[in-house]
Each structure stands twice: as structure tokens, then as C-alpha cells.
């Protein structure tokens, strides 16, 4: 197959080199009968997937095991898909070019809801039966994990095994269980029962949902076999500093979305922004120490030849010793043509000083995320940033020569009025005003302020998980209102059609009845829904109609606190009563402090034996 594809198919498609699996640091093994074959699947393009840190970590962890070979597979771009279908060739994982159907496991990472249709398409292209219940004995176990697995229900029909939470440890437990299972003559169900007993594993086929006939609301959700627990506990790594981090990563030949070393300096976030799912599900906050970071980055540069490092986390400035870390790295790579970048910075002028220190050369655009236009709204979402913070920050940035500022906002936040929306335009104007206060000699010659407004999608396990999303008409009205309030020609406004956000809201808080919709949408050819040129809202709406499912029920309906939510069988460690308390505070625009300064008892402290936030979240150096 290998030779045929290389000779006859790849020359006909764009970026052919991304379908060969022969990159520097790609892992090649000689398989034998005992080897466990794992295909790590990213349901989007190669360029997007190769930028994903989770894949790099799990690829490394699995391949450290002598008897496991983990390979990669991405959603083939439409031209490659067409060629595979014309030649009736199966989708294969890259390293060995083995058809997907021949692996022991195919594991998908769920980074965004709009990639779900690609999962079905990849399974079909890989010649794997779509519905888990119909899968034959010799077919792979289809796994899934990642942030969207915190509401796994819309994919329940297609996935055999979900991993809830951080997979670094539990993936090896599952592999170990599989080693033992292979020696027996058990069948698929036997293995699924073994897997279901592992903490953090959710096997959807062992659970049953009952709905109220009249309202369609869930009235019962329970396991059907004794091996399946009632509650699934999310997994997290206690000692991040000692946890595995790859010392080499696969080098894409083509340019990827984040074409640099992305080094995770800490995990979790204690800011408690109420709209942010990552901030809730990735708790507690855990850091890597400076010596560990230093050592691993050095190894990575040597193994890859990359000349840029990005220090990644949910909010880089919140690393407890951020200044010491930056000083250390700047000193170490001084004069070596290695660039440092610091994404996800909070809005404060300290951040600008840090940026100035690391970005000695070009001052490209500065991106800040006030998230909401009015102070009241920012308090509602607990963003913890004031207008003064923002204006101080942009003033400092303008003083240091930045001229291009992009401000990120959301519209459709809970309790939002048109006045709050106007606040976005006002903030844009005040930013422009700050620029003109700076001396002509000092400031950048070109000013550009971009206001970007995303349509808010309420997510599971956040204090806004009960809230009905704004209707598409409401979003449209707000976008138009905002547009009309922008007067200055230096300000531009960017926004998207809210239909994608609407579908995201459906799947982010949907239940397993949506499996029928996904199947219909897949049959209609939906895929690459995250790519504007392939997203077809009409097809999706037809799929809902044909499956007789009302999407508004999931996206727009405001739910009661005591309704059984589709994802409530998962225990993230952040308690429901905390989320309710946070929601109630948001109604009065009351804020909650940064958890490092004041613990608000979210529940994560009592979640895992031996874990204590304030002892361990700051690693001593």
C-alpha cells in the first residue's frame, strides 16, 4: 500500500509530505504479534493536530513502552479523502501506513465540538464500524479523551471507552489491562468491563438514560452492569514536576499552526472566570519547577532544532515565579537566536514589561482579552480585570512602541444588556484615546485597534452551565448594535456568524440522543465544520429535523439546578454547590478572588487523597 500511495496518490494532493509519517523524531518500530498497536487520532488537519501538546505527551508515553507502538492519524484534507475514496483505500495511521481498522486502539482527542463530524468521517474512512454496538470482535476499541470528553454523551454511540481527565497515568493502566486481556480468550464486552473498573474510565454502553416523555428531560441515568461505577472521577496528575514530558517531538516538515516548542509551565488556573470551562475542569493548579523547565527545554531544542519556545498555560503570568523563569531563560538563550514567547497573558502592565523583555526585536500585534465591555459584565463573569488595568496596559504598550492592539470580547453573556455591548465600543475608543496621549515621537506610527466579539457558548461544569444561550437573532442584533457604536476609523470590528456557536452550544451540553443527529449529518457529508468553507448549517438543520430532535432544547433552554444534566455522572472535583454559589454570585455581579490568595472551597482540596492546594501548587526551587 505504502509504495502505491506514494507513487500514485500523494503527488495529486496538497501537502503530500504530511501523509508519510517519516518526520524527524517519528517513532518506527518492528511490530510482532504481542505488540499493542495504538493509533492516536486528531480529528482535524495535520497542521492543527501537530500543534497539539496532548498528542505529543501521550505519543511519547505510549512509545516508551517497548510492546506498544503509538502512531498518528489526522483528518485527511478533502482532496486526500477524495483520492482514498476513489481508490477504495482505507485511512491509515502515518508511521506504518496500516489501515485504521487493524489497530488495537484508535484514540481520538476531543478539543472542540465542531470536530465531532470528522471523527465519524475518519472512522468510516478507516473502515471501522461507526456504531460501537455493531463493532465486530476484531475491530479496534475506539477511545476518546480531552476537554470535550467532560460531556461525552453526544458521542456515546460511537466511542467504546472515554478517558475523563488527564490521561498520562490512566492510559497506561488501560494498556496494562489490555496486555492481560490479550492472554485470555475474552470478547469485546469482557474487555470493556475490565476497562470500566479503572478509575477515570467511562464506557457509555454500560449506562442507560431514561427521559421524561412529556418534557424530554433526563429523569434517570444509571449503570447497567456491576463493573461500571455510578460516578466517574476525573483523573489528574498530582506531581506535575515529576510527570512525563517529551524530550523530543515529531518535527513537521510543513509549517504547523503553532510551529514552535510549546512548553507547558503549569496546568490549571485559579482565576475562576465563570465562563471558562478549562479554568474549572483543569483544577487544581500545578506547576513545573524552573530547573525542570530549563532542562527539558534544552533537551527539546537539541532534539528538534526549533528556534522558538512558547511558555504555555492557561494564564502564563500566573506562574508563581514568572519573572525568575523569564530571567533564567532570557539569560540562557541570549545571543543564540532562540525566541521566547508568552501567550495567554493577563491584562496588567507587568505583562507588558515581561513581553518587552523577551521580545527584543519586532513588536507585532498585542492581543488582550477583557472578555466583556462593561465593569458590571466583567464582574458577572468574574474576569477580575478593571478598565483601569486595561488602559494602563495599553498605555504601557503604546509607550513601548506597540501599535496594533487586538481586544477579545464575548457577546451573549448572562444578563447582558445593549448597554454592556456598547461598552465594548467605548473601551475600543478609550484605547485609541490612550494612543493619542502618547508623544508622537515615541508612539508607533500605525495605530490599529481590532475589537473581536465571539458569541458566547455556555459549557458544562461552569457556573453558566444552566444558562440558555442567546438566540441567533439576539446575537445578530448585538453585533449590529456594536457595529453602529464604533465611530473611529482606527477601530475595526471582527465577528463571526453565530450559527457555529449555536451548534457548539448544542453539542457542548447535549445528551446521547444527539448521536442520531451526528450520524445523519455525517451521511449528508458534514465534515471540517470548524473550517468556514466546509461548514454547512443547512445540512445540520436538516439532520436535526430528520432525527426529530430540537436543537433549541439543548442550546437555548435555561435549566433548573435540580435537573439531571447529561454530564453530571462525572465528578471533576469542583462541587455542584460551588458552581451554584458562583452562579448566584454572578447574578449580583459579586466577584470571587484568585484562589491562590483566598480559597473559595471549590471542592478540589477534598477530591484526591494526599492533595493540598497551597502546599503543592507552588513548587519550591
Amino acid at each position: 500500500m505504502n509504495n502505491y500511495i506514494e507513487k500514485n496518490i500523494l503527488p495529486l494532493v496538497t501537502k503530500p509530505i504530511t501523509y508519510l509519517g517519516n518526520e524527524v523524531n517519528a517513532v518506527h518500530k518492528t511490530p510482532d504479534a504481542d505488540m499493542i498497536r495504538f493509533a492516536f487520532a486528531f480529528p482535524d488537519t495535520y497542521e492543527v493536530g501537530m500543534s497539539h501538546l496532548g498528542m505529543k505527551i501521550l505519543y511519547g508515553i505510549l512509545n516508551e513502552q517497548k510492546d506498544i507502538w503509538c502512531e498518528r492519524v489526522f483528518a485527511p484534507w478533502v482532496d486526500m479523502e477524495e483520492q482514498l475514496r476513489i481508490h477504495n483505500l482505507p485511512l491509515y495511521a502515518l508511521e506504518s501506513m496500516t489501515p485504521l481498522k487493524d489497530y488495537d486502539f484508535v484514540g481520538f482527542t476531543l478539543q472542540y465540538e465542531m470536530s465531532f463530524s470528522n471523527i465519524l468521517n475518519m472512522l468510516e474512512l478507516g473502515h471501522i464500524t461507526l456504531l460501537a454496538k455493531d463493532r465486530q470482535e476484531e475491530e479496534p476499541f475506539v477511545m476518546a479523551g480531552g476537554p470535550c470528553a467532560y460531556n461525552p454523551e453526544p458521542l456515546a454511540d460511537f466511542i467504546d471507552i472515554f478517558v475523563i481527565g488527564e490521561a498520562e497515568e490512566v492510559i497506561l493502566e488501560i494498556m496494562d489491562a489490555y496486555r492481560g486481556f490479550k492472554k485470555t480468550d475474552g470478547n469485546r464486552t469482557d474487555f470493556l468491563k475490565i476497562a470500566a473498573k479503572i478509575e477515570g474510565v467511562y464506557v457509555p454502553s454500560f449506562y442507560e438514560t431514561t427521559y421524561d416523555d412529556a418534557t424530554g428531560i433526563i429523569i434517570d441515568f444509571k449503570p447497567t452492569v456491576s463493573e461500571a461505577p455510578e460516578k466517574i472521577k476525573k483523573q489528574f496528575i498530582t506531581d506535575l514536576d515529576a510527570a512525563y514530558y517529551p524530550d523530543k517531538i515529531v518535527m513537521s516538515y510543513t509549517e504547523t499552526v503553532h510551529d514552535r516548542i510549546s512548553f507547558e509551565i503549569f496546568r490549571g488556573c485559579g482565576r475562576g472566570c465563570r465562563f471558562c470551562q478549562a479554568g474549572m475542569i483543569y483544577r487544581p493548579t500545578r506547576e513545573r519547577s524552573i530547573p525542570t523547565i530549563q532542562e527539558k527545554i534544552k533537551a527539546l531544542i537539541e532534539a528538534t532544532g526549533y528556534d522558538e519556545i512558547s511558555l504555555s498555560s492557561l494564564s502564563s503570568g500566573d506562574y508563581s515565579k514568572i519573572e525568575a523563569l523569564i530571567n533564567t531563560l532570557v539569560k540562557e538563550y541570549d545571543g543564540e537566536q532562540v525566541g521566547l514567547s508568552l501567550p495567554s497573558l493577563r491584562i496588567d502592565s507587568l505583562s507588558i514589561d515581561m513581553l518587552e523583555q523577551i521580545q527584543k526585536v519586532r513588536k507585532t500585534g498585542l492581543t488582550l482579552a477583557p472578555e466583556a465591555g462593561s465593569q458590571r459584565m466583567r464582574d458577572v463573569i468574574n474576569k477580575g480585570v478593571t478598565e483601569e488595568n486595561l488602559l494602563d496596559t495599553v498605555r504601557t504598550a503604546f509607550e513601548k512602541g506597540w501599535g496594533h492592539v487586538k481586544l477579545y470580547f464575548m457577546i451573549g453573556l448572562p444578563g447582558e444588556t445593549l448597554e454592556d455591548v456598547s461598552g465594548i465600543a467605548a473601551l475600543g475608543q478609550k484605547t485609541v484615546d490612550e494612543y493619542y496621549k502618547i508623544d508622537r515621537e515615541i508612539r508607533n506610527k500605525n495605530l490599529k485597534v481590532v475589537l473581536s466579539a465571539a458569541s458566547f457558548v455556555p459549557k458544562a461544569f461552569t457556573p453558566f452551565q444552566w444558562m440558555g444561550q442567546n438566540t441567533q437573532q439576539e446575537f445578530k442584533d448585538k453585533q449590529n448594535h456594536l457595529k453602529s457604536k464604533i465611530k473611529d476609523r482606527k477601530i475595526s470590528f471582527s465577528y463571526h456568524d453565530s450559527s457555529v456557536s449555536y451548534l457548539e452550544a448544542v453539542f457542548a451540553r447535549g445528551d446521547r440522543r444527539l448521536g442520531a443527529v451526528l450520524l445523519k449529518a455525517h451521511e449528508k457529508g458534514c465534515r471540517f465544520d470548524g473550517w468556514g468553507e466546509y461548514f454547512d448549517f443547512e445540512k445540520w438543520m436538516e439532520a436535526f429535523t430528520e432525527a426529530d430532535i430540537d436543537p433549541d432544547f439543548y442550546a437555548l433552554r435555561t435549566r433548573d439546578y435540580d435537573e439531571i444534566l447529561p454530564w453530571e455522572f462525572i465528578d471533576t472535583g469542583v462541587r455542584k454547590d460551588y458552581l451554584i454559589a458562583e452562579h448566584k454570585k454572578s447574578l449580583e455581579a459579586l466577584t470571587t478572588p484568585f484562589c491562590r490568595e483566598h480559597c473559595s472551597n471549590c471542592g478540589i482540596m477534598e477530591f484526591k487523597e494526599g492533595w493540598k492546594c497551597n502546599d503543592q501548587n507552588t513548587v519550591s526551587v
Binding site: E6, K7, N8, L10, P11, L12, P16, I17, L20, N22, E23, V24, M251, Y253, T254, E255, I301, E302, A303, T304, G305, Y306, D307, Q337, V361, R362
Partner: protein, 228 residues
């Protein structure tokens, strides 16, 4: 500061790289190989490196040339050894030498390039017939093709002066594929793409070849001024 000129080949494994991908690959390989590469000055420093010819996607080659400026002295054998340790399968440095200053640039000194093309035949064809077709083609005093100039306007260009020779590789002939050997001339640092010649034969004589990206093109040799 020294400038090293190296010769390398590209085989099947990496023939599908784009030129930009390959540049990036070398840049990273220099770093993995711990080469003291000189960078340009200015706001956006770039490593001082270049290639004599661009390589199109799909091309394999026995004779590519690149150069790189290093800030420290380096033994050429050491350079070859260290680079080959960090380059992936599919790219191999064959030799290296120190470049004296003030010499004509590599790309300016190329006089000829030799190719081997394996191309699908549009219909079964005897060697004799193919040979006759090529000779008829070569006998044309002028071969005009339509070409877009830099402004996007269609202009006519005579490509006959660029063709040094066209031959069939008899050993590799089958009734489905033809293997053609081509020697092309550089005139004022310009040449024509070898697949364009095949398309032009289709145009001028008859439809002999299937012109699509599956044509396998191999650059066998570059002749430099100093060699001839």
C-alpha cells in the same frame, strides 16, 4: 567567518517536500547539528544559507547544491559527518568545500542540467515510434510556447534553445511508461521545466504522454561553468 558549499542528494523518501519545507528542514538540521550559523542583521535575523536551485515537489536529485555561512572555522569532513547524523532519511550530504569569496554564485554558474523522467504513455507505443516523434520534435527550428510573464500577460517563448538533447532510456522502456533522458541548457540563468518539454511534445507532435503530477522527475546532474 567561512562559507561552506555542499552537494547533496534527495531520494524518494523526501521527494514530496516543498522548497520551503526543505529550507526549514535544513535550518533546523543546522541547529540540531550544532552548526555556528551566521545570521543576518536587522529586525528579523535570518540564517545565512541558500540553495543553488529550487526543488519542486516530487523531484529527486543526485546533485543539489547549497551553501551556508558559519561564524567559526569548520573542517569540511566534520561538516558532512555532523549534518548527515541529523538529516532525515532522504537527504544526504555528499561532499562539502570551503567557498572562496568573490566567486560567481552557484546559480549563476550552472550551464546545463540533466534529467531522467518516467512518464505514463497515453497509448502503447513502440520505441521506434517514440524515437521518431522525439527526433521530429528536435528537428523543429523553433518551438514556441505560451507563457505568462511577470505581469501576467501571455507571451510567446521559443524553448528550442534550452533543449540540448532528448533520448529514450531503452533499458527501462515498458509499454506503459517511457523513460526519457533530457539535457537542458541554462541561458542567462534561465531554463525550462522538464515536464514542460513533455507537454510541448504532446502539443507539437501528438498526445504521447500523460501529463500529471505523477511524472517522476529525477535530476541526475548539474553542469557548472568550471566543470565544462
Amino acid at each position: 567567518m567561512i562559507k561552506i558549499q555542499y552537494q547533496f542528494n534527495r531520494t524518494r523518501e523526501l521527494r514530496l517536500l516543498s522548497h520551503l519545507d526543505q529550507q526549514r528542514l535544513f535550518q533546523r538540521a543546522f541547529r540540531r547539528g550544532d552548526m555556528p550559523v551566521e545570521y543576518s542583521l536587522g529586525f528579523n535575523p535570518h540564517p545565512k544559507m541558500s540553495f543553488a536551485l529550487a526543488m519542486s515537489v516530487g523531484l529527486t536529485s543526485d546533485c543539489e547544491y547549497g551553501d551556508v555561512v558559519l561564524s567559526e572555522e569548520m573542517d569540511c569532513d566534520e561538516f558532512v559527518k555532523r549534518m548527515n547524523r541529523v538529516l532525515p532519511n532522504g537527504l544526504l550530504i555528499l561532499s562539502a568545500r570551503i567557498c572562496e569569496e568573490g566567486k560567481t554564485s552557484l546559480s549563476a554558474s550552472i550551464t546545463k542540467s540533466e534529467y531522467q523522467l518516467i512518464v505514463k504513455l497515453a497509448k502503447p507505443l513502440s520505441i521506434e515510434d517514440l524515437s521518431t516523434a522525439l527526433n521530429t520534435y528536435l528537428d523543429m527550428p523553433k518551438i514556441l510556447i505560451q507563457k505568462r510573464n511577470k505581469k501576467g500577460k501571455l507571451v510567446e517563448k521559443d524553448i528550442r534553445p534550452f533543449i540540448d538533447s532528448l533520448r529514450i532510456n531503452l533499458e527501462k522502456a515498458t509499454d506503459k511508461y517511457a523513460t526519457i533522458l533530457m539535457s537542458l541548457c541554462y541561458i542567462e540563468q534561465q531554463c525550462v521545466k522538464p515536464e514542460l518539454i513533455l507537454a510541448s511534445i504532446n502539443e507539437e507532435i501528438e498526445d504521447l504522454f500523460i501529463i500529471d503530477p505523477t511524472i517522476q522527475i529525477h535530476r541526475k546532474q548539474l553542469i557548472l561553468e568550471e566543470d565544462s
